[in-house]
């Protein structure tokens, strides 16, 4: 009968060992050992998340208890293997898009921060180029090159505006000194 007990003992031993080893092995996979996550890794993520309750303070420098808790939450999530973007998404879901330093491109933020600046820029460039082009056209007409602000003098038609501008100024000053 001793021989019959052997396999049973072995089986029991294996079973007991298994219940110890397997969960430990399973734990290794998830690696929820938060001490492995450095402060720097936490700060990398925390820097781009703003405190939901304090004023304009990113989580990496915020000194309140709430922020400390949030940093620990980030640490836990990082240790679970979550990516930076997943953590950002989590905070955005919980506290709104307004806690992210980089607002996601959706809704109002898309319009105001992306579309609007581009539109305004194009409008600006449009006005700008129309102004410049409209003026280039005026080059062929007579151009008043007298910089004085008093009465507009007789315009000078000229092929060398720079030189004649100088002459016009000289004439202007001579006139003034003769008054």
């Amino acid at each position: 009968m001793i021989h019959a007990k052997r396999p049973l003992q072995i089986l029991l031993a294996v079973l007991i060992l298994a219940t110890i080893v397997i969960p430990a092995a399973a734990q290794d996979n998830g690696d929820s050992d938060t001490t492995a996550v450095s402060d720097d890794a936490v700060n990398e993520v925390a820097r781009d998340i703003y405190c939901p309750v304090c004023e304009n303070t990113p989580l990496d420098v915020c000194q309140t208890k709430a922020c400390a808790d949030w940093r620990e939450l980030i640490r836990t999530k990082l240790s679970e293997g979550q990516s930076d973007q997943q953590i950002f998404d989590y905070f955005a879901r919980q506290y709104g898009d307004g806690v992210l330093a980089n607002p996601p491109r959706r809704g109002v933020s898309l319009i105001v921060l992306w579309v609007l600046p581009v539109v305004l820029l194009l409008v600006g460039v449009l006005f700008f180029s129309r102004y410049m082009r409209g003026l280039r056209g005026a080059e062929t007409e007579t151009v008043s090159t007298v910089p004085s602000v008093a009465v507009a003098d007789k315009p000078l038609t000229t092929a060398e505006p720079a030189r004649d501008d100088y002459l016009a100024r000289v004439e202007e000053e001579l006139k003034k000194s003769n008054e």
Partner: protein
């Protein structure tokens, strides 16, 4: 008793301002100079009355009169005397009173200085100046009264906010306010010119020095704010794109565009309407900035409506904007010019590109700063824009601006020879390329940094060449090198002061690129004797001590030894300060600064501390001291540009007003 007198003084000042507005307008319209002169004299009265109110508030602060709410709020018995005096601008009501003091001083000075030379403008200038004063005195008296009393007199006050007890923070508000208030003067004379229909260069040439000095103070205020943030706030940086910072930056941007744009009007008599728009914009942004800095409007639209101050400020901005717009529209025919830009490469065009870029930057900053309010109004959820977004959007714009800064002096009025420009940029471009090739060889791979450094080098060399060319030209006429250089600058203060300022900006840009793109940081918990490495430094933690400071201060100080390549270079003492009365902590960093970088250490005091264990946050900030050095160069340049030139003034005075020569550069 003193409080009642103070309030009375403000009340009389308010009434005097109302009188001044009415009398000047009446005198101007009916052509009765006696009334206008009386209005001018009342600006002196306003100044003395507001000064009296300020002195009375200071006296109350010094006498620890806690029956006055403001004194209770910002002062305490144990505070040192100098802080009690500076507490005048330590809180909302007091700083508004201080604003009024500066405004009344500047207004009285501007009115008297220009009295004889600009008789036709004075009635309207007085009226517009009075309108600004009326608003600010009204707000000070009826919304944020510094002399408001407490029903029950407390035994001691709260004391000044610990953050404000740093020397940088003491001068920072006055500097900013000097800048803000300074910009009201060119606006006043712009509106006066519109109303008097005297739309030549007079309005900005007479206020030129005001504009430049206001701009200098605003610049210094911004830089000091950055320095204070770096030294005291303890987050390793100097600019956070915080709404309050941005609110002060925006009038600075508009003012910079204005400073450049008026040069086109002077030389070519163009952009009159644009210049009007720019000064109105600057003024509006100043008022808006004052409002944002002092209220909590960005944090929530709801806080805007809670105090009366929000709607009142907004109402005032709207009224002044509409008032200005009406007058610009009325005078639009006088504001058009017969002159035109003739070439894409002329100096006028260069200034236009400059304005375009600056306004683009202003637009972006405005949009991003007020985005929280916009999103809250439309979606009920408060959005937010953080520093990375600002930097991504603004970096290309600033880069183009810096590039333009270098090329613009090469352009000529009317039109430029492209060939000449091309020849002039060849060597600087080559040298700059060599420079970044060296950087690349040393391991710098960030193309953003390389491009940025290239532009800084390129524009820097071109600007220095301007000094070289001018000096050499004078030397050919027989002057010695040093004499040539100093005479060059002294005879052409605006131009060379301007180039000096540009060099300051480029030096700052060099530092900013270094810090923003190459900053390293780390955070670590250390036991006594343990060390951490960052860059080629090693920092060893010794111990933490706790002791009592002056006042109600408790200081927790860590001692760390800094080693560079194995040798001990410095012992640093980052510390945490706690003002026990208000339980407000402050983390004060300690840094070792060299020309290459700062090794900046913070004691992380929200983690547990024992005498032998502490958490540290360390930043390595490359090139950061170039920013402060550049700021000094910048300030000197502005002084050079603004320094009165007796010779120039005599010539300008001798010529008839508005003559072309008077606008000589």
């Amino acid at each position: 008793m003193l409080a009642d007198l103070g309030f009375l003084a403000l009340l009389f000042a308010f009434l005097a301002a109302v009188y001044s507005a009415v009398a000047s307008y009446y005198g101007g319209r009916t052509g009765k100079p006696a009334w206008v002169e009386s209005a001018r004299n009342s600006t002196i009265a306003i100044f003395f009355l507001v000064l009296t109110a300020c002195l009375l508030l200071i006296a109350s602060l010094l006498r620890n009169d806690f029956s006055i709410e403001y004194v209770w709020r910002v002062s305490s018995i144990d505070m040192p005397t100098y802080l009690k005096v500076t507490a005048l601008w330590g809180g909302q009501a007091g700083s508004l009173l201080f604003w009024n003091l500066l405004l009344s001083t500047f207004t009285a000075a501007a009115m008297f200085r220009n009295w004889n030379k600009q008789r036709d403008l004075m009635p309207y200038a007085l009226m517009v100046a009075s309108m600004t004063q009326i608003f600010f005195l009204f707000i000070t008296m009826f919304v944020e009264n510094p002399f408001a009393r407490l029903a029950v007199v407390p035994a001691d006050g709260n004391g000044l906010n610990p953050l404000l007890r740093h020397p940088g923070m003491i001068i920072h508000p006055p500097m900013l306010y000097l800048g803000f208030v300074g910009f009201t003067i060119p606006y006043t004379f712009a509106m006066a010119a519109l109303m008097a229909n005297k739309l030549d260069d007079t309005w900005f040439t007479i206020t030129r020095r005001w504009t430049l000095v206001a701009w200098l103070f605003l610049s210094l205020g911004l830089i000091l704010g950055g320095r204070w943030a770096y030294d005291v706030l303890g987050w390793g940086g100097y600019w956070g794109w915080d709404p309050v910072e941005n609110a002060s930056l925006m009038p600075w941007l508009a003012g910079t565009a204005f400073l450049h744009s008026v040069m086109i009007q002077e030389k070519r008599d163009m952009f009159k309407m644009w210049n009007m728009f720019l000064i109105i914009l600057t003024y509006s942004l100043v008022i808006l900035g004052t409002f944002v800095v002092r209220s909590g409007v960005i944090s929530s639209v709801h806080s805007f409506a809670q105090s009366a101050i929000g709607p009142l400020f907004f109402g005032f901005i709207a009224i002044m904007f509409i008032f200005s717009a009406i007058w610009v529209t009325r005078r639009r025919s006088s504001l058009t010019s017969e002159n035109h830009i003739e070439s894409f490469f002329s100096r006028e065009a260069a200034f236009l590109y400059n304005n375009f870029l600056i306004i683009a930057i202003l637009g972006v900053v405005f949009l991003f700063t007020y985005y929280p309010i916009i999103s809250e109004l439309f979606t009920g959820e408060k959005g937010f824009v953080g520093p990375p977004v600002y930097e991504r959007a603004l970096a290309p714009l600033f880069a183009l601006l810096l590039l333009l800064m270098g090329i613009a002096p090469l352009t000529m009025w009317y039109r430029s020879s492209l060939k000449r420009i091309e020849m002039s940029v060849r060597w600087p471009a080559l040298i700059s390329t060599l420079f970044i090739a060296v950087l690349f060889a040393f391991g710098i791979r960030s193309w953003g940094a390389l491009l940025g450094f290239w532009i800084v080098g390129f524009s820097g060399i071109l600007t220095l060449l301007e000094f070289w060319k001018g000096t050499r030209a004078r030397m050919r006429r027989g002057e010695g090198a040093w004499g040539a250089l100093t005479n060059l600058m002294s005879r052409n203060r605006r131009r060379y002061g301007g180039y000096w300022i540009h060099i300051g900006v480029l030096v700052m840009a060099f530092g900013i690129i270094g810090t923003e793109l190459f900053q390293q940081e780390t955070q670590i918990r250390l036991q006594s004797g343990e060390s951490v490495s960052l860059g080629h430094y090693e920092m060893v933690f010794n111990q933490v001590e706790r002791y009592n400071g002056p006042d109600d201060l408790v200081i927790t100080e860590a001692t760390v030894d800094l080693y560079q390549d194995g040798t001990l270079v410095r012992t640093l003492h980052p510390r945490s300060e706690l003002y026990t009365r208000t339980m407000q902590p402050m983390t004060i960093p300690n840094a070792r600064s060299t020309i290459t970088e700062d090794f900046y250490v913070l004691l992380v005091d929200w983690e547990p501390l024992t005498p032998n264990e502490a958490t540290f946050r360390i930043y390595l900030n490359p090139l950061i001291n170039w920013i402060w050095a550049g700021a000094i160069i910048f300030a000197i340049g502005t002084l050079v540009a603004a320094w009165p030139d007796k010779r120039e003034e005599r010539i300008a005075a001798a010529l008839p007003a508005g003559s072309a020569l008077g606008a000589a550069d």
